[in-house]
Symmetry: C2
Subunit: 96 residues, 2 copies
């Protein structure tokens, strides 16, 4: 899994408006109604992480979840990060 | 719920060797076997947080969980933080 270039990342991010690229990783912050809703989303995301065998650096404070994705072995952002970001988007903001 | 003094906090921390006091909060880091074990502990802690109506600032990276506790309304560390720290200790390191 090879590291994407900054240009490739910025192009892909056009489809991920919640995410930003800096510090060699992609980052998003999600706000929920309350802690229960936030942790419920985290639980669903946790299952996806295991399924994809890829894990985030994430922080929760009450109803806010901050997620940073990068691929340690590749030293930057790879398709693994975008695959997980896509799974997270489906959980956090399911389409009607 | 009133803010504890630094002296009161340091005395209480004698019973909580995993925890340190700095930046007006108490902090601990726990390492697990893997992500599944770590997130399982987080799920159990999440239920305690709801029961105690007190929530941490916590960060997870794979098998490592970093927790910061303080009481926002009191502007520092209160008994609410020690009550949650105690619940966390029972989950993370259950007595035999």
């Amino acid at each position: 899994m090879s590291k994407l270039t900054a240009q490739e990342i910025e192009t892909k991010l056009l489809r991920f408006p919640d995410w930003e690229y800096y510090d060699n990783a992609i980052h998003a912050e999600f706000e929920f109604e309350n802690f229960k809703d936030c942790f419920s989303a985290m639980s669903r995301i946790a299952f996806e992480c295991e399924a994809l065998n890829h894990h985030p650096n994430w922080t929760n404070v009450y109803n806010v979840l901050t997620i940073t994705l990068s691929t340690h072995d590749a030293g930057g952002v790879t398709m693994k990060d975008f695959n997980l970001a896509e799974a997270i988007e489906h959980i956090v903001e399911p389409e009607e």
